[in-house]
Symmetry: D2
Subunit: 360 residues, 4 copies
């Protein structure tokens, strides 16, 4: 369908930066289509135009990947709806991807079952069901994401590898490691040995913490003499205070996270730091809106050689403000201004950090 496009590994092997997409669950919750708490993607069937629009915005922002909106879309969460949801999500991702330079990635994530019954065969069967839809729809590559246990992530990679397509695997862990205490470096080794070509982290932690964890993944591979491409899709929220359990444990989750939202400048720094760490697949997760993805594409435009379509509507480092009528606003049209600004909250009772609720 998109014969001329380079595959994901072709891009990464040649040193290209791949810009990932952002978060669907929280964005679409705010747009009125996803239920907070359940966090399931029925919207792809119920209101496909809303999903298509968000895909389109990420594409315009520079994303090279349209991940199918199939988070928690396995049979154990969605029951009989699961197949229709997975199929519709593939169609939407493909439709938009074909309008630009983007690949379609079929995504699976941790199961609800794992927590209660670590039944490898049953869990792999859940993964395989989704994979069958992805194969029928001919996605370009596969992502196993949001795993908090290396064991279940390995099972997912093993199933996805059966397809012969490239497999990326990201865990939602921080520097302290997985839910069973497996260190990030060891998780990395297990994922690569299971067949993942791209490994990294997604969700649960903010930009800085996520990059710390990726650095540990990287060292783990180096120490084991293994190689893989690195990937990061952090939260679009500042979370230095979130503890081992990640943002779910913070008192603001999920309905009062607003003061923690990253600015576009914070994300430019994240993109640059990721690049300097050797990460070449850089995207976002919950809290990443289209303009955050654009910030990645703009920060790395010098390396990539081009700007994304949505940059037509955005001068770099605020240069659009040059047209403002007030001189003190025009004075903000420069990099130093935004790089050094410490934004205020306008909330007189606002503390800087929260104490996480007790974690498992």
């Amino acid at each position: 369908m998109t014969p001329a496009k380079k595959g994901i590994l072709e891009r990464l092997d040649s040193g290209e930066v791949v810009v990932g997409d952002g978060g669907f669950l929280l964005s679409l919750e705010k747009r009125g289509y996803v239920n907070a708490g359940l966090w399931t993607p029925e919207v792809v069937v119920e209101h496909p135009e809303a999903v298509r629009q968000l895909h389109t915005e990420f594409l315009r922002a520079g994303a090279n990947v349209m991940q199918t909106f199939t988070f928690s879309a396995s049979e154990d969460n969605l029951e009989s709806q699961w197949e229709a949801v997975n199929a519709a999500a593939c169609d939407l991702a493909r439709e938009v991807a074909d309008r630009g330079d983007a690949l379609v990635a079929g995504g699976i994530c941790r199961t609800s079952m794992y927590k209660h019954h670590k039944d490898e065969a049953a869990i792999k069967k859940l993964f395989r069901l989704q994979l069958e839809v992805f194969m029928r729809k001919n996605v370009d590559f596969l992502i196993a994401e949001y795993f908090e246990s290396a064991e279940e992530a390995v099972w997912a990679v093993e199933v996805l590898k059966e397809s012969g397509k490239p497999v990326a695997a990201t865990m939602c862990i921080g520097p302290e490691g997985d839910v069973h205490g497996v260190a990030p470096g060891d998780c990395a080794v297990q994922l690569v040995k299971a067949g993942a070509s791209i490994i990294g982290v997604n969700c649960r932690f903010g930009p800085e913490t996520s990059l710390k964890t990726v650095a540990l993944l990287k060292s783990g591979l180096q120490n084991a003499g293994l190689k893989a491409h690195l990937m990061v899709q952090s939260l679009g929220f500042h979370m230095p205070d979130c503890g081992k359990g990640g943002f779910v444990d913070l008192p603001e989750y999920p309905f009062a996270l607003e003061p923690r939202v990253a600015t576009r400048w914070d994300i430019q720094k994240y993109a640059r730091d990721a690049y300097n760490l050797g990460v070449r697949y850089i995207g976002g997760c919950c809290g990443f809106e289209p303009y955050h993805i654009r910030a990645i594409a703009e920060e790395l435009a010098p390396e990539r050689g081009f700007l994304p379509p949505a940059s037509e509507k955005h001068g770099s480092w605020g240069s659009g403000l040059n047209m403002h009528t007030k001189p003190w606003v025009r004075a903000r049209a420069r990099r130093e201004y935004w790089e050094n600004l410490l934004p205020a909250t306008g909330r007189p009772f606002c503390p800087s950090l929260s104490k996480p609720d007790a974690s498992e």
Copy 2:
């Protein structure tokens, strides 16, 4: 076209709450379609699907008004494009309005010309050009918004009144009054005498400050023995520190406002306070995303007797969290929790307030 729908004055006269829509400029800037600094709405022609989607989200959130996205769309800002933009914006608003219980409001705002030449005839001509499109497209009522001078707002109301349709007028002023020092109460009197049936404020100031200003408008009318419906469309940002000039003067404007974004709970409080003040047309301006509009509709559901469509995806006061797997997250599914939470920023160097840049 929508014969069964009650008009704006019919609704307000009978005591109904009218839920306004939210902000297009900043939302669409973040989605990648509007240029910050210029803040003009060419997107209605260039990417109508993006505007249609945002209208749809506001409709689902409970908005009873689809305001045409014609901000700064007069000839002096858009040159030859102006007519196509105004026409397309009307069509988009009408298309979505017809899918629910919403009216179309044609919107005009202050001109760029006024600052340099207070030429009443020339400025009125600019307004009249837009009005002609609105009449051709048969909008349901008219809004003159974002005026910082009562004089220019009066000119706008006078032109709009020529149409015979109901006219609302909102100024972007705070409690200190308009740019020439006219007190809010006096602005109110001038607008009503010019023919506005609905008066209020929009933009530039946060929820609390905007309601303070509306209270002053109300007193002004009472003292003059005049009557009008009240309307408020505040920013979706906390701005207690913004000074007379409003949010434009704060150092975070427009690219680092994230920590100031209101939560849905803040907006429920705003909606309740507005209602208690006697305001019956309650919406938002810049920073108001669809979920903020939904918060207005949910807060006032007891008075209105129904919830908006998007509440299917949102239990009141976080009740959707009842399904969460972690007990300490389930414990957040209650009103007291969110009403009393002081959200943190996750930014260790974040102050609560900023000092505005020098203002005109």
Copy 3:
């Protein structure tokens, strides 16, 4: 005893700045001699050396007034101890005052009785008992301070006037007026008509709020065609959030006020603002340590023509840091640095403002 010294009115009438002293209760509580909650001055009998030392420090810091430490030292608070305490306090103040250019002021404050029985005769009798000691000890002038009701303050002034000595009167009110709703301007008029030559505010509110209240006192006198010298002795704490009841209602009172303590630079600003407002008797109350008083004397040294003794140990605007071994600390030895610094708390969970507890 100090024949050469100019009296308080002689100084003020000739336009001199009189530097007041600071707070005894909270300073001596922290030094281990005063009981928080009771706030009574038995220490003058029990540990006179501690009180002498604090007087000495204020004298060295530039204070021109040694106020007797007789706060709440009336018979209704101290019972049989009252006379010994008043006498000892006078002796200590005189002893230190005689070592420098300072006057002794006998101080009385609101009674406990007033709240329960507004018995003018009984309350005046309590005042008169203290006054008799002050006369016997021949203090230089008298201060009625910390009154929350204009009525009781007037009674105090009337009693003190019987002595023939100059009388100063300060109330512990904010811009909203006294406990019965008497506006500051009206309080001022009543105090001057009762015979006070110097009026102002002390305690309960921070520097900025206290000066706002003094401005209202000043206007009240001007509107009434009356004249008096102005005096201010604010808290040494930042209290913009304290509400009508003052600092007592803030949750941090009295054992967690540390983050609110003013820096010496804050106090220099206070001294300058007070001077510009026309206040010529400038001192402090609770939270004013000796270095805060020195900051007043240093800020107004150009007007007064001399520095206080303790400035031997303190270069202006941090110039002593010129001797520091580290260059980045030496770089702090200048006015712009300290004037513009926004000090941090080192407390990651620290909000900027508190909500006052319910007030009477």
Copy 4:
């Protein structure tokens, strides 16, 4: 001279808690007697009553040690004054110690010379000169404090050991180790091998960080199979953001540290945490006022079996507020209230943390 008193090692060997004293430099700077920047103790000669008073306050607060105020009082800092200063400081400490259950500790600290010439013989000679005065004045034990290099600290211990008196040694280091990169555990080993019976840290870092460093000292000794008593005298300021160089590098040093001052409740927590870590010599350094020392003595009163004299003026956990006239202030007279309070600053522009200036 004080034959009945138990020596420092006798106390520690038997498991007693020894309460140290607090900071002289910053306290006496605020009282008007010490020059910030130079930080030298001429005040013991110039104004002995001020030093005597501060010693007395620490004694009343429960301190078991009167450290001679001889910080930076070596010949290379004070020139010809050095001998008079050391002698006077010993006399003052002894005079006050003899009024209670306190020992006199002669104190030396790092030299200015070390930074420029690491001349062991010359530096040891400077130490020996001070030691001769201490021996003549017959202090009870010796403290080598505020060393940033283990090498120089070892030289100091070696000299002090010549006296035959017990030697304590504290370094002003954080968890990252000394100025040459020697880890805390290794510093500990070197100090004990040189002859120190008590080791620990003082100054430069806040309570929490100081205890982290002491934990590292303790592990270092355990790993080396060595034993010593542990000691901590942290700053009375919150400094989580101070970096390797300690508080000197923070922009607020030394004239805007007010918002960082620890409350008495913070210090009770510090005392308890220190005790639980096995530290038995617990005192403070800069920023520790008498009431902070009292907080140590009160927190550990159950273990020690008695309260200090100054607790006559201080009910535990705010119980003195039981006498307050306002019910909402009386409601603060309990442990839970103060333990859980997050104090505000009253400074709307106040951030929680600072960025240290560049460090050497």
